[in-house]
Amino acid sequence: MSNILRRIEIPIFLTIVATLLQVIPYYVDIPIINDTANTVNLWVLLVVAWATFIGPLSLMQVHGKTVQKRSKGWYFSVVVLVFTVVMSIAGLPIAEIGLGTKNAVYTWLFTYGQTPLSGTMYGIIAFFITSAAYRSFRAKNIEATIVLVAGLAMVMYNAPIFTATWPGFRTIGQWIYDIPNMATNRAVTIGAALGAIALAVRTLMGIERGYLRGGSD
C-alpha cells in the first residue's frame, strides 16, 4: 500500500489536473468547468492557509534540537522558541477567549517587536551597500564603467540636492530609466513569460519534478 502511495506519479498527476482545471476555462467557454475552477481555487486557499503551522513546527524542530543538545548559543534558541509559541498562540482566532489579531499581546509584539526588527534588518543593507560602492564600484573596463556611470547618474537622479542644483541630472537619469533600463526589463519580462510557459509545458508533460524533490530521499 505505502509503495503505491509513495509513487511520484500521484503528485505529478495532481499537479497536471490542477493546472489544466485553471487554464482551460479561460479559453473555452464551458460554465460548469469555470465554476468548478473557481470553487477549487477557493478550496486551495484553505489548503494553503492550513499549512501555516509548518513554519513554526520546523523552527521548533531545528531550535528544539539545539536546546536539547545544549549546542553553542542554545539560549538564543530558547528565545526563538518562546517568541514563536507566544506569537502563534496569541493570534489564534478565538475571540471568545480574547485571542486573535486584536489580542493585546499580539498587537504589542507586532508593533513594537516585529515592526522595528524587520525594518532595521533590511535597512542595515544601506551600510553594506555604501562600503561596497566605495570598494568595488570601479571603472575597470568599458562594461564596469557603464554600470558605474549609469549607477551614479541614477543616484543623483533620486537625490533632490542634485536635481535642484541642475535639472539635467533629472533628464539624464530619466533617459537611462526610459531607454536602456526599459529595454533590459522588457527583454527580461518577455524572457520570464517564456520561462513560465516552458515550466508549465514541462509540468504538463510530467517531466518537471524540481518542486517534488526534497524531503528525506
Binding site: 533590511y122 561596497a132 509545458v201 508533460m205 524540481g210 530521499d217
Partner: protein, 264 residues
C-alpha cells in the same frame, strides 16, 4: 493590422505556438535529437577559479542560492544552481580539492549532499566526500548570510561560486568574498541583485544565462530542449516587434487614418 490590436485570439495563438514548440523540442530530444547549446563563457571561468584554488591550496565554496525548490520563479534558479554545483563537485573531486557547500533550505540540503556525493563517486573518489562539508547554516536569511560570511573569513576559499536566487545578501557575500581574495563566479535571475554581483565578482552570469549554464553542464535533454522552445518564442517576439514597428512607421509616414486606433 490584426497584429497591432490586442485580443484574446492573438494571445492564444502565441501561447499555443510557444507551448507546441517547447513540447516539440522536448519530444524530439527524448528521441535523441538534442539541440546544441552555446557554451556560456562563465563556465570557463569556473574551471579557472577551481584551478586557482588548487594552486593556492585553498578550498572551494559553492552555493546554489537561498530559495527553495517550490516557487515558480525562484525554484528553477535553485535547480540551475544545483546543476552547476554538480559540475563544480566533479571538478573538485578530479583535483582533490575540498568543496564546502553552505545551505539555507532544509529541504534542499539532502539534494545538495546527494549531488556532491554522486559527483565524487563518479570521479572514483567516493571516500573523499565529507558530508559535514555540506553545511546547513540557518533558515533565516540574515542568519544564513552572517554564517556564510563567517565561513568565508575562516576558510579563505580560493574560489567562491554563487549561482541561484539571491536577495539582499548578494552583496554582503560578494563583498566578503572579494575581501578574502577568492575568485568569484556569480549568477542570478533576480534582476535587482545582478548589479551587485556584476560589480563585486569576477564573472557574473546574467539572468537566464544560469538556466543555460545548468542545462549545458548537466546535459539534461528536456531542459535543453525547453530552452530551444523558449528561443522559438524569443524569435517570434522579435519578428513581431520589428515588423509591427516598421508598419507603424510606414503608416505614419503615409498618414494613414487607421493610426488613431493605436495612438500613444
Amino acid at each position: 493590422m490584426a497584429i497591432l490590436i490586442a485580443n484574446r485570439i492573438f494571445g492564444l495563438v502565441c501561447l499555443l505556438a510557444i507551448m507546441i514548440a517547447v513540447a516539440y523540442f522536448i519530444r524530439r530530444a527524448q528521441g535523441g535529437k538534442v539541440p546544441k547549446v552555446r557554451r556560456i563563457p562563465g563556465i570557463d571561468a569556473i574551471d579557472e577559479a577551481i584551478g586557482r584554488a588548487v594552486e593556492m591550496g585553498r578550498p572551494v565554496i559553492a552555493s546554489h542560492g537561498i530559495a527553495n525548490l517550490r516557487d515558480s520563479t525562484t525554484g528553477p534558479q535553485t535547480i540551475a544552481g544545483l546543476s552547476v554545483l554538480s559540475y563544480v563537485a566533479k571538478k573538485c573531486a578530479e583535483v582533490s580539492t575540498r568543496l564546502i557547500v553552505p545551505v539555507r533550505q532544509p529541504e534542499v540540503w539532502p539534494i545538495a549532499a546527494d549531488v556532491v556525493e554522486t559527483a565524487y563517486k563518479m570521479a572514483g573518489k567516493g571516500e573523499e566526500f565529507q558530508q559535514s562539508d555540506i553545511v546547513f547554516l540557518s533558515t533565516e536569511q540574515f542568519g544564513f548570510s552572517s554564517n556564510y560570511i563567517g565561513l568565508l573569513m575562516r576558510e579563505k576559499p580560493g574560489a567562491n561560486i554563487m549561482i541561484g536566487a539571491y536577495w539582499a545578501e548578494s552583496m554582503q557575500l560578494a563583498e566578503t568574498g572579494n575581501r578574502v581574495g577568492a575568485m568569484q563566479i556569480s549568477g542570478t535571475a533576480q534582476t535587482s541583485q545582478i548589479p551587485f554581483f556584476l560589480i563585486s565578482t569576477d564573472y557574473c552570469l546574467i539572468g537566464e544565462e544560469i538556466y543555460a549554464a545548468g542545462a549545458y553542464l548537466t546535459n539534461e535533454a528536456p531542459l535543453i530542449a525547453s530552452l530551444a522552445g523558449q528561443d522559438f518564442g524569443r524569435i517570434l517576439a522579435i519578428i513581431l516587434g520589428i515588423l509591427g514597428s516598421l508598419l507603424t512607421t510606414a503608416l505614419t509616414v503615409a498618414g494613414n487614418p487607421l493610426l488613431t486606433v493605436m495612438s500613444w
